[in-house]
């Protein structure tokens, strides 16, 4: 699959990574090469083969629905680039 600049720009928007116009062309080439290379998997007949999401064979364990941990607001906010009055803060999203 050869990706064009518009597709790379679209993926970058989905991934929330800002790219400059000058970066699109070289990235389109690099990503296209990788995609073309992984497309060798099309040689493999996988009809009737179930997808494997994990090597862990166990079913996800359940635990009691009870509060067992928490209450670290200050410790957690200590790493925030911006925090105020016990909350993370972000640019204004509502006018």
């Amino acid at each position: 699959m050869a990706l064009d600049k518009a597709t790379v720009a679209h993926i970058a928007t989905l991934a929330r990574i800002r790219l400059s116009e000058a970066e699109l062309e070289p990235l389109a080439g690099e990503l296209s090469n990788i995609l073309t290379w992984v497309e060798q998997l099309n040689e493999v007949d996988t009809s009737g083969v179930a997808p494997m999401a994990s090597a862990a064979s166990v079913r996800l364990p359940m635990r009691d629905d009870a509060v067992t941990d928490g209450g670290y607001r200050e410790a957690i906010l200590g790493n925030a680039p911006r925090a105020a009055r016990g909350f993370f803060t972000v640019p204004k999203v509502v006018e």
Binding site: I34, V38, E39
Partner: protein
Amino acid sequence: MSDPSLLALNLGEARDGLARRVFSARELAAAYNDAVAEAKPLNAYIIPTPERALEMADAADQRLARGAALPLDGIPVAVKDLFCTKDILTTAGSHILDGFHPPYESTVTDKLWRAGAVMLGKTNLDEFAMGSSSATSWYGPVENPWQRPGDNRPLVPGGSSGGSAAAVAARAALAAIGTDTGGSIRQPASFCGIVGLKPTYGRCSRWGVVAFASSLDHPGPMGRTVLDVAIMLGVMAGHDVKDSTSAPASVPDFTAALSGDIRRLRIGIPKEYRVDGMPGEIEALWQQGVEWLRAAGAEPVEISLPMTKYALATYYIIAPAEASSNLARYDGVRFGLRVEGDSLDEMYELTRAAGFGAEVRRRVLIGTYVLSAGYYDAYYLKAQRVRTLIARDFAEAFERVDCILTPTAPSAAFIIGENTDDPIAMYLNDVFTVPANLAGVPAISVPAGLSADGLPLGLQITGRAFDEETVLRVAQILENAACFRHLPSFVAGGRG
């Protein structure tokens, strides 16, 4: 002035010396703190923690004096800077985690400290563990303590746990921990002439390890000898309710498995690992490994793992897909770097553009693409189906053999800067290591010889899920037969 002769001891010897009070944990920690400082040009450590090391050593000395020694009391270890360490800077080798001081401790490091181990510092790595050279770190490349004789160009230590591998090889750590998503413990172990073990998926908890690809990430030990990593694994392993993929399996005494007896074990030799372009010396070393195991009474058996050639392509869909999801958390809101923008989306985009390096960005974009509407089935689901076939290859092989012998990597260490123009050339480093991650089975690299240009080469033993004991037992036979006693160009305390 510390005693550099302490640096030559392996973990088993150091433990004996501490127990018999030949030297104190503080003396050992001081010698290693000096070694970490001396090894600074290798850039193996991002964050040395010498004061912490001395405090922990003093606590170990008190227990040793009381006769209440813990399993790793006083053993100085290095921690790949992908493990969260409470109140100590944790970077994952990325600019985007600037200033992150985790308010919690990873399960595996917590187990090490509870067993008395002494923390020397946090080691350098490829950014977010994505790489095979330890050259993509925001904190600069790691240098391999090995050089080609008569050639002072710096070599990569392999990656992504290259800082841990370089530190152990340069005697700037007695042992270390790393993580292995596609070979990131075993390939650097091979490049640096040390032992590195990727345990079974679920054997060691991933809780508190900065996530790259959750279904492929494996914490594991790195050390000077097979016994050393067996001792480390015994402490690191065990069920953890905080990691839902952690296996509720009992932890055996891995050191007891080192019986030296592999008579009648069947050793698989997969014909598909003879890849095009592999140097003849690696093929020859592999054959030497077959002969060593045969001489010890094991039976080599040719086997087929027909899906081997598709493992890398499978990996380079699944790993970026999981990475694009895991790395969505780096948004400038809760921790790390933030680049301000006029809107929330602009802040996200500017933060992530500034914070991620080229390889991480490439993988996040590939992962986003293969998971996006219209392409999910063709790429991601297809790769998951091939993964099933790769795991099936191993399951069928292990009906006939007890473990599998292969080379660890298709080359020795290369020069820093090589393989950087073409991402796929770099990915090919992982051709022999990636299959075990996809299948979740344990695999170890043992130093087995030197290349023609004087660099270490490893052999790999892969085993059944939760059968690290056989893997370790066979690995020790290789270790004893190879008798690898070569030292790198640089070792802390001198080569004398």
